[in-house]
């Protein structure tokens, strides 16, 4: 499977993400000759433990996530980030978890937008919104390099592409920039050859970053 980096938008201190930034980012992809293809959507669900007494919930993981990815319509990914656990399952695992009634959905988010082809790269730009609202919480970008599936072998070409992209975007003087944080995949038991489990881990990591950003803004305001 081709290797992929998932980047997220980091607003400058004191600014927040908005749809104007999203629009500028999309226009920038097209300005470097990215050819718009179709829509894409990934979903991320936060689960919370269901306990008899609220105080008992602290015994159980609070960072238990489920992720669905557009390239794997029949699969679902479960992650406990704090313990570096990722599981690939059939989509029926969602029904199974519902039947168990031990964990319930706390909040679900969409990563939703357009896909672009640019030479050997496939790019996806997406907004991050709760499933029941249009309240923009973040912007993500996927950079996929089709010819290579080894993350180490593809590292240099990815870095060069992202540098070019950052430079093109910087001309628009937007209040922020894209960040790539690479999780330690080995901690999750994942190998160098890229897979959808790697994507799921990257989305979980991006989510943690988005939450940290929101919390930082909130603590600055209070």
């Amino acid at each position: 499977m081709p290797l992929k980096w998932v980047l997220h938008w980091q607003p400058n201190a004191g600014s927040t993400v908005n749809s104007q930034i999203l629009s500028e980012v999309s226009q920038c992809v097209e300005s470097i000759n990215g050819v718009k293809e179709g829509r894409w959507r990934a979903t991320l669900t936060f689960y919370k433990p269901h306990t008899r007494e609220p105080t008992q919930a602290s015994e159980f993981p609070r960072d238990f996530l489920g992720i669905s990815l557009p390239e794997q319509p029949n699969k679902y990914y479960l992650i406990i980030r704090g313990q570096r656990i990722v599981l690939e399952a059939d989509s029926s695992i969602q029904t199974l978890m519902e039947k168990l009634q031990s964990y319930k959905t706390r909040v679900a988010l969409y990563f939703d937008g357009f896909q672009y082809q640019l030479g050997d790269f496939q790019l996806r730009v997406g907004k991050v919104v709760p499933t029941h609202s249009e309240n923009l919480r973040g912007i993500v970008m996927e950079v996929e390099y089709l010819p290579i599936s080894s993350m180490e072998k593809g590292r240099q070409v990815m870095e060069e592409f992202v540098d070019i992209w950052q430079e093109a975007l910087s001309k628009r003087s937007l209040p922020g920039h894209f960040v790539h944080i690479e999780p330690n995949f080995a901690d999750y038991g994942l190998a160098d050859s890229y897979s959808s489990q790697h994507s799921a881990v990257q989305y979980a990591t991006v989510m943690a970053q988005l939450i940290a950003t929101v919390q930082a803004v909130q603590s600055m305001r209070s």
């Binding site: 015994e59 993981p61 313990q83 990722v86 031990s102």
Partner: protein, 217 residues
């Protein structure tokens, strides 16, 4: 959802059963060696206790994992009248981290088993699976190489078929009529309703063995 019946057969008659099944199903048997790990939720998790079964197929060159949840059986006067159990069942193939994940979610080991035997998968009015296996317990944690039979000399026969709310009556009918063919060797009934071995089993087995399989029905 699935439809299920179970029965027991003496190990000495399993070969005859295999011949009968081979004739009825028209397919080859598949060997079965499944490590079944049954987990229960911690006492504080969920308002009701929940269970999952983690199944590891040891017959494959690389072990494959499935997680399964068996839910409540269909109830009511209609359910009592049918001889097949209809119950909710959800399963999912999973990657190998499944046990670690469920332990981390607050599930604990309740018991584990090793099932060794064979199964037949075929279509006969429904997608039917017949499994014949010895049920073995492990003397040490996860030690599948040191398992001993729970009931020496007796094997478990299970007939299952997937069903939906719309199709279950046809599936029940298909499973029931298939079970009639096995009646000389064993009696199949809802799990939990034990009927013991069948008195005609020895004679039926002898007949099947001397016939060398006979012709498929």
């Amino acid at each position: 959802m699935e439809c299920v019946v179970q029965g027991i057969i003496e190990t000495q008659h399993v070969e005859a059963l295999e011949i009968l099944l081979q004739g009825l199903c028209g397919v080859h048997k598949e060997r079965l060696r499944t490590h079944e790990i049954c987990l229960k939720s911690s006492p504080n998790l969920g308002t009701v206790s929940s269970e999952v079964r983690i199944l590891c197929d040891l017959e494959q060159p690389e072990p494959t994992w499935t997680v399964r949840h068996i839910g409540g059986a269909m109830r009511g006067a209609g359910a009592e009248q049918i001889s097949v159990l209809v119950r909710t069942m959800v399963e999912s193939k999973v990657s190998k981290n499944v046990l670690r994940l469920f332990y981390a979610l607050g599930y604990k080991l309740d018991h584990e088993l090793l099932r060794v035997g064979f199964s037949f998968h075929f279509q006969r009015g429904a997608q039917i699976t017949v499994t014949v296996s010895s049920v073995n317990k492990m003397l040490k944690l996860h030690a599948t190489d040191e398992a001993v039979p729970v009931t020496p000399g007796i094997q478990l026969v299970e007939v299952t078929a997937p069903a939906s709310a719309e199709s279950y009556s046809e599936v029940v009918s298909a499973v029931s009529s298939f079970c009639e063919y096995l009646a000389p060797l064993l009696h199949l009934s809802k799990p939990g309703i034990s009927t013991g071995v069948v008195p005609t089993a020895a004679a039926a087995a002898a007949s099947l063995m001397s016939d060398g399989g006979g012709t498929p029905l």
